[in-house]
Subunit: 400 residues, 2 copies
């Protein structure tokens, strides 16, 4: 991503469809900081101590697994159809730490392999790489069984499958429910843990919300990963993981996994900032346990931005194809030619618009003729102009 940061520094006035960040306009940091006191009042009552004592203890070291597990369990039941007991939840320093802890804990031998779709979120492949974990890429989930079989023949052991089933980063796609059932059956039969990452699920623009793999799972195969970076704001660095009640049917194995993840967390970040946990907890208390009202303006904006982007694409870029995501932050455009580093730079220099090659998210080959367009962090008014510029670049390339 350093390359893209550099390009955006070189062309500061370029319109960027590259940033998949949430829109800053809806961050309410000042008001959210005020919610810390709401949480302290709640906590003081619950623990039978004075608010001053509750505040002093808040600023101290705390439980490794976090102190808002009950509030998080309650919120994801309301907002994300996840039913779990607070003991299944662990609060982490952003969802990335949850992922890092799972990779560090689940992968024990050089035979263990992480399965991912390619292209996929680079934070998942990045931490696997940094941990020396072998990665096997699926260009299509239909290859799941064949890939597992091939790995087993080679003496390898597929240990986990990383997925963003709802409004995937970078593709924006949703895995249909029937396909989710199939993936669950295949993984459960091979005792492959599914790491289900769901940062975008609440940002659905139309249609019925899907059921998360975690809630479809009857095998105990799914670890659910979540974050408050998109629903509230990234600077909190508060995320979480949810373990199944019984890992592949074994409740004791699930508790042992919780203990191992917790031990690892104690050696990576000790515990997640209790001040930031209190902010999240205070907002959840004030909002009656759901973030649907808080995220509504952002959800409406992202939906509008998607519509404007789709309209602009239809009017300017008829030679290409794109998908129509029903939510999330991204869509992808398939082009009639390869679009890589060089094209990023030229497109920025010639037309002042930034897009993200899908190949940047791929393991090995793949995605060479596609780009990801993010509509979450760009001004609505800039979208038609940005797409026009991008279309001009595409047409010039086709004419050349």
């Amino acid at each position: 991503m350093n390359f893209l940061n550099e390009v955006s520094i070189d062309y500061p006035s370029a319109i960027s469809f590259a940033s998949g960040r949430p829109a800053e306009a809806f961050f309410q940091l000042e008001s959210w900081l005020g919610r810390i006191d709401d949480f302290l009042e709640h906590r003081a009552k619950k623990d039978g101590v004075s608010p001053a004592t509750a505040r002093a203890l808040l600023a101290q070291y705390g439980r490794t697994g976090g102190m808002i597990v009950d509030l998080v369990a309650d919120q994801i039941r309301r907002d994300e159809r996840i039913r779990c007991r607070p003991e299944q939840v662990m609060i982490t320093a952003g969802c990335q730490e949850a992922l890092a802890l799972c990779i560090g804990t689940l992968f024990r031998t050089p035979r263990d392999v992480l399965l991912v779709r390619s292209p996929t979120y680079i934070g998942a492949t990045g931490i696997a790489d940094a941990s020396g974990v072998e990665i096997a890429a699926l260009s299509d989930l239909a290859e799941l069984e064949d890939t597992i079989a091939a790995l087993e023949r080679a003496g390898k052991r597929p240990r986990a499958l990383y997925l963003i089933p709802e409004f995937d980063n970078p593709t924006g796609t949703v895995i249909p429910e029937g396909e989710r059932e199939r993936i669950l059956r295949v993984c459960a039969s091979k005792r492959i843990v599914i790491l289900e990452d769901n940062p975008y699920g609440m940002f659905r623009f139309e249609g019925e919300p899907s059921r998360p793999l975690f809630s479809l799972d009857t095998h105990g195969a799914v670890i659910y990963l979540g974050t408050y970076s998109k629903t509230l704001c990234p600077a909190l660095r508060v995320g979480f993981l949810v373990l199944p009640p019984a890992l592949f049917g074994d409740a004791r194995a699930a508790r042992e996994l919780h203990a191992r993840l917790s031990e690892r967390k104690s050696f990576v970040t000790v515990n997640t900032s209790q001040i930031m946990q209190a902010l999240v907890g205070g907002v959840l208390l004030a909002e009656g346990g759901t973030l649907s009202r808080v995220i509504e303006p952002a959800r409406l904006l992202y939906g509008k931005n998607r519509d404007v982007m789709l309209g602009s694409l239809a009017s300017c870029l008829s030679e290409s194809r794109w998908n129509v995501p029903s939510g999330g932050f991204f869509l992808t455009v398939d082009l009639p030619f390869a679009f890589g580093r060089r094209e990023v730079e030229r497109c920025a220099a010639e037309e002042e618009v930034l897009v993200m090659p899908l190949s940047f998210f791929a393991l090995g080959e793949g995605g060479e003729r596609s780009v990801r367009l993010a509509f979450s962090n760009v001004a609505t008014a800039d979208i038609p102009r940005g797409i026009e510029r991008f279309a001009r670049f595409v047409q010039k390339r086709l004419a050349a």
Copy 2:
């Protein structure tokens, strides 16, 4: 540490010398949260943006290595005699993350070994263990050269030495300057990186502050680790590391190490909470770049607690020996018998006092006849009673 947590839950009214936490009485969370606005004002001016824009960007994702590196570099120059450029600093999610990043980045092959003193801080050995890094324990730093030679003969490569030179946890001891010079020479000659952890250095009760290894180092052998958990409060989860300007004389190698640490951090926690960084930055701005005024009440309390503890020990426990630390949070008592798990439980059950066996911090054997007494997080008035109870337990054991 779970064992000790359980014992303290079983005996809630016990006086505890086990907790090495800072005293809560001096946390000023409410006032410190107000400093976020001071930081935003400073930042808005510096970047030429409105305070509202600065606030929105604060809540967003940020630079991997942190945004208060200049303020931290300025503070540790004033407070800890560390001279460095802001580019040498990386902000981390507590000092533990700094340690985890160093272990994950420096240790690349199964031949690489971490050197530690035994007993030592369990966060250091814990992350090494969790990362599959072999550890070699020194019961005395005089063994340093022999241990290195023995490891080399066995085909191993000592890669780093972890030390708390100032008011060590758990022993409370200080490494003298001459010894620091010797350690630097030995490590530099073998290209062994020294991880210098200094959480307690500012809490000196008497005598002249020592020069950190980092500031004595002319070889580029030292990575300095720091935290705001003791000077401000643990719930911030803000720490940092400082790289040498030229790693073993090689400026490019130091920059490459910074890049590798930064990449790893991006896959572990993305970046450290900018809200918590802004709080630290705001306090540093308000305090003119030094925390000496902020920590003064805590420093005075810890010094008084140490004096009361030493007085009580002298009047109750003449059969034993203890050290007299000139700062920090801990002292150790050597007993005429072994003090382990069983003694912790009995001492809690019979006398309602909790102490920490030194063997809990040891790798393999060592420390069986010693305990660590923390004086940082116990009420001054409880210390004479607590030491009396402990002395009674010791005397009963000796009589039996």
